[in-house]
Amino acid sequence: MITKLRGVRIVDGFSAAGGFSAAGGLKTSGGFKMADGVVKSVENADLYMIDGVLSRVLPDGKKIDAEYALPGRTVMAGAIDLHTHIGGGKVNLARLLMPERPRATEPMRADKPWLGPLSCPVPNTWETGRRYLQMGYTACFEPAMLPANARQSHAEMRDTPWLDTGGYVVLGNDRMLLEWLQAGVPQSMITDYVAWMLTAHAACAVKVVNAGGIDAFKFNQRKLDVDEKHLHFGVTPRQILRALAIAIEELQLAHPLHVHCSNLGVAGNIESTLATIDAVEGRRLHVTHAQYHCYGKEGPHGYSSAASALADRVNRTPSLTIDVGQVLFGQTVTLSADTMHQFEHRSLALPRKVIFQDLECQAGCGIVPFRYRESQYVHSLQWSIGLELFLRITDPMRVFLTTDHPNGGPFTGYPHLIRLLMDYDFRMSIFDRLHPDVKSTSPLPSLRREYTLAEIAAMTRMGPARALGLENRGVLSDGAIADVVVYRDESNAESMFCDPEMVFRRGILVYRNGEFLADSVKSTIVAGMADSGRGADWYRSAANRAMWHQRYGYSPDMVMVRGEELTDEGRLIEANRVHRLV
């Protein structure tokens, strides 16, 4: 099957620092147009999708099956959300907790009924897949897959149509690891164990949430700083972070340690966030929902923005990436494995109901419904901090567009967020509605930067693809997977990004103008490892299996997710790229 898109504007991710980025630069044969001083796009180009793969040229003798003339349209690769809670125990508990549905009075788009509000902040799997595809997203990653919940996470992602998916296994509060660190075992044992946890749970990366803190909370410890000791095991978050980062480096995982720092939401937590970054001693690191981790203690409310400190650090540290976790005003549900800090915020629940779980000597979960309001000081501050981070970090290849769905707001707010980034006046029109103490102190009005389309493409496509080691995604270069989104050019970025004209998955037109035309093949992305045998080695050790059995009361076989579970109904498994150390 060969499809041709004729006369389109191709917007690919370029580094804002100028020139082409490392992974998958654009090769074109003319037609360049300087869109602005920094980034480039290609005007009036042709694009071929040949059996699910992109090509800029049609090989000799090949016949085109379908052709679309699309002048004045912008074409991008399928977008990638590298941090969105779409499957697993706490996601499903949040669904259960929130049967409320919005009243019919909430605004609907009469002209485009498919763009109405989500049925709830944590929609069911079908709605999740549908709404992501409708915005041009084709790959989404569940960032907090508890080992014991991994099979469920994969099952939910399996039932999320149209999207390629993957999960990050949560480590760093698992007692096996804490015991080993306490005992001071050699790093090689920890690296083997990390390899096994990735393999057994079909994960593509490792996430750490409040290192050691979730477990400390089970021992009634209510706070754990980066150099503070877990009262029972005597280990510090710094030790945990370092051990995991080394394991990931040794296994050469494409995605670095994905870290939810200590002190989520706590005033003054910028210190522990910077200490967390230091803890990995220069190794690569991804700091997730960074907005929730860069607060100072200044100002009348004892809560202030420390976005410039974090942004400076990111700008100076090429090995560091972040996603923002932008807050958007309205009703949502916050959910996190970080029971310690979710518990601290339980009285803020709206509606007034919460779920907490202590889970399987591995982690926990805390679910707190929440409504972000413009009139509230801290919420306004959070909104402005997120935008500050976006605007101060210069390289869009290292700052990714997330709301930490559903924590900062449902993912369907992305087009609105894109407009906030691309349109200074629009941004200020919302800023004017914020709490007066935020308005009088925030530096946001002075940040006049407006993101370009190419920068948006970088932060939603090429950047996350590179961060995850997805070599042939996120770009429109020859050989890439033909996940392609066609947008109408509109001056209002929100209208443009919430309603693409067409979406192709692997070269097949699956969505057009509000209509779903076909299902698509789905892949589960798992970790490519420099030495994947290390996981099997761990499993083969009778001592390891016995220890596992003693800890959990069942064997590792019970939780191991097998290939055949991920490949029924034609689904695929793909390993991401191994990160080559330079």
């Binding site: 000597c361 499993y539 009361g553 069942y554 076989d557 097998r562």
Partner: protein, 426 residues
Amino acid sequence: MNDKSAIARFCTFCSMVCEGDAERSGSEMASESFCSRRNREHDVLQGMLRSRGRLPDSLEQERSLARANSILENGRDIFVTGRIQSVETARATVKFVERAQGSLDLWDSEAAFDTVQAIQRSGFYGVSLAEARESTTLLIIVGDDSLLEEYPRLPAALSAGRSIPALLLGSWGDESIHAWRQAGFDALVVDCDVQGVPRSLLQASRSATSWPWESQVGDWLQQASFTTVLWSNRNLQVAHGDLWIESMMEWIAKRNSDRRCAALAWRGLDVGFQQACTWLTGFPGRIRYRKGVLEYDPTGCRAKAWLQKEATDRPIVGHRRIRNPVLVWVDDTAGSIPPPVLSSGVPMIVVSPAGLSGTDPKTIGEEIIWLPTRLPGIEVPAEFFRGDQTLMVHGIQGATLAANEPEVGNTPTMVAGDWLRRLVAR
């Protein structure tokens, strides 16, 4: 993914999903991991095999499917119920209900919905099995002997090999008490009405003088740093189970302000259906589709109420029912269909491993069609949830059916999803 192709073997007779000895090969699992209840279930399996009788041949089965489809074609009010436990069956059922624009509620879903409604009103503090085993410093068990009759290996599964104080509240016989003590618990029994337990605990936390139980209990509660409260919703003999759970949660929430406390609310295998239905639709069951719109009606959409209404209140116009109700019974168990369902007189499509032979034809309503299926977890690998809702397991039950197979043994080729996908409604 490990290359090891063996499928984990476990017991699916209850939601403990105990695992056999994984180090041993062969078709029979080491029995020490399993309990006596499992042996009783072999009789149920044999009954299932007998009830299948001579399995209809594929041509007959196709004819049954065609008849089922013609009933559905004329059906106006399609209600799906049954005993759904595996994720696969749940998935196929939910899709069918949507296609059929029908209603869905599991049979015997009352206890499950007590928990659901308590959670949806005020939330929950929970703990998973392995965590409770490791972290608990005081175990409070609320209920009666039926808890261990239904889940015999609970004490063993919760035993961490050290002595933990355990407070048994309710009415407990010697055998149960012995089982907890044998598993290493330092068990203290307080014979009381379980209905009042949350209130007593709440009162005690307000003022020590209103303490109804002996002082040892008070000391334990004082000293415990991590309290786990264990009950099983299906084995709790209380009125207004939802309110009971809410009161218990109120106590647990309070207790968490200066120490740790959580509930291990053990659920039956139906939790697998509830989980899958929640991720597929946003709701844990009791749903209906009306003109393409999904409605959640936890108090109104109940299988038993629907059936009662259909059985007693059937308006006939001429010789045709005006509503044309159809019941679709979907079963993942070896059990037979409950008599009130069979005798309701509502046309019925049964998608189940157990056959209908042995059922009295006089009590059966006007039309009943059986589409035979393999038994998930026994005859075909399947996915189940453990009763704490944390672990989802994939595999097959240890013992081969052949070992207990009576003469008439006969294995269908289809699973429930195969039939449900081929059922069409208007």
